[in-house]
């Protein structure tokens, strides 16, 4: 049985997000320069900014470095099995439709092993917010190629460069039926926090892709120091709200499009279930 690390002692003064984190577990496991911490912090700021009571939130994650977030947030949270965060979260939402359900996980967890769950939850417009930390790699297991690794990038399993094309996640989300779709990077953290806030308040399946560095398992093999990655985010991105997701491939040579791609109203899974099943079963 593992033990939690001992508390580091009382902070002289508190960080403004200390009330939403399990401070006794900080410092967290993420490597120096890893972008996951910034995405997590932005998510907590967004939760705070909604002014919704904390006990009306729950966070669900799968397996991976990104998925560790569920263990650091101080609300009821679930660290599930690999790829299964979305079906687990769907179960919570069906049983307790009033909860704000946030899925926080990595690109490998959500789009490789968990890809099928993603498209079906989007198709049904399950009312939840899915935040995907896209670091272009399987970080936790040592840097294997992912479904989001750019063509030609070096990974432990593609030593000559990746021969395959990556997913365009905003297009995948839109085509599957997501009703809110956005993409930001950790450098655009104010926009990211606003987008997460908007996504939480949006009724329906909201998807936010966040580009974040994994300096240890992606950067090191592709000659990118963390600050180089952040400079790419500043110099090789184009902010274009309302852009067509079809042109949103992650290609830093051409420029990566950021912004809110989709924000539309569609009946949610719960609306449809209420109209077709709950109502009839009460007769």
């Amino acid at each position: 049985m593992t033990k939690n690390p001992k508390p580091l002692g009382k902070n002289p003064v508190g960080h403004p997000l200390d009330d939403l984190i399990r401070t006794e577990r900080i410092p967290h496991i993420w490597c120096s320069g890893c972008g996951i911490g910034t995405v997590f912090s932005s998510c907590l700021s967004a939760i705070k900014a909604t002014e919704i009571p904390y006990n009306e939130f729950t966070m669900v994650s799968g397996i991976g470095c990104s998925a560790r977030a569920a263990g650091y947030i101080k609300v009821d949270s679930f660290h599930t099995t690999h790829g299964r965060a979305i079906p687990f979260a769907s179960g919570i939402k069906m049983a307790k439709p009033d909860l704000n359900v946030i899925v926080f996980s990595g690109d490998g967890d959500l789009f490789a092993i968990g890809g099928n769950h993603f498209i079906h939850a989007a198709r049904r417009n399950m009312d939840m917010t899915v935040i995907c930390v896209n670091n272009l790699i399987y970080g936790m297991t040592g840097g294997q190629v992912a479904a989001t690794t750019p063509a030609n990038a070096k990974t432990t399993t593609t030593p000559f460069g990746n021969p395959d094309a990556p997913f365009n996640l905003p297009l995948l989300a839109y085509a599957s039926g997501a009703s809110y779709v956005a993409r930001w990077t950790i450098l655009h953290v104010r926009d990211l926090t606003n987008a997460i806030n908007e996504a939480i308040r949006h009724r329906g399946f909201s998807f936010i892709e966040v580009l974040a560095p994994c300096p240890i398992n992606y950067g090191r093999r592709n000659k990118e120091k963390p600050l180089d990655t952040l400079k790419l985010y500043r110099e090789n991105t184009i902010i274009k709200n309302g852009a067509d997701p079809a042109i949103a491939d992650v290609d830093f040579d051409r420029g990566v499009i950021l912004g809110t791609f989709i924000n539309r109203d569609r009946s949610t899974c719960d609306d449809m279930y209420e109209a077709t099943c709950r109502r009839n079963s009460e007769d």
Binding site: L8, N11, P12, V13, H15, P16, L17, D18, I21, I26, P27, H28, W30, C31, S32, G33, C34, G35, I36, G37, T38, F40, S41, S42, S45, I186, L187, V189, R190, T193, P226, L227, L230
Partner: protein, 98 residues
């Protein structure tokens, strides 16, 4: 030709000042706050923290504009800023209360 009015009420504008706090033992030395502070008032300190990293230190304390960027880019919850006027007021009340 004279302008019909001053474009900005420059005399009356007050720049917000911030007070930065650093929780040194949470820092992993990524340097993001140092690189992206818009007025470049942070730098690496010479000493090590508990985990063996060099946390940031403030070079020009009075010049922070309380933009909070260091706070929101930090992946470690290790740095934050507060409005300097509020911090001073809090100090006063805690002193008078004790």
């Amino acid at each position: 030709m004279a302008f019909w009015r001053q474009p900005l009420d420059t005399q009356e504008i007050q720049i917000t000042r911030g007070e930065v706090s650093i929780i040194e033992d949470r820092c992993k030395g990524c340097g993001y706050c140092i690189e992206f502070c818009p007025i470049h008032i942070l730098t690496f300190s010479d000493h090590f923290n508990k985990k063996g990293y060099h946390p940031p230190k403030i070079t020009k304390a009075g010049e922070c504009v309380n933009c909070h960027y260091c706070e929101i880019i930090c992946p470690e919850f290790a740095i934050y800023s507060v409005n300097a006027a509020d911090a001073a007021a809090e100090m006063d009340t805690s002193i008078s209360a004790s």
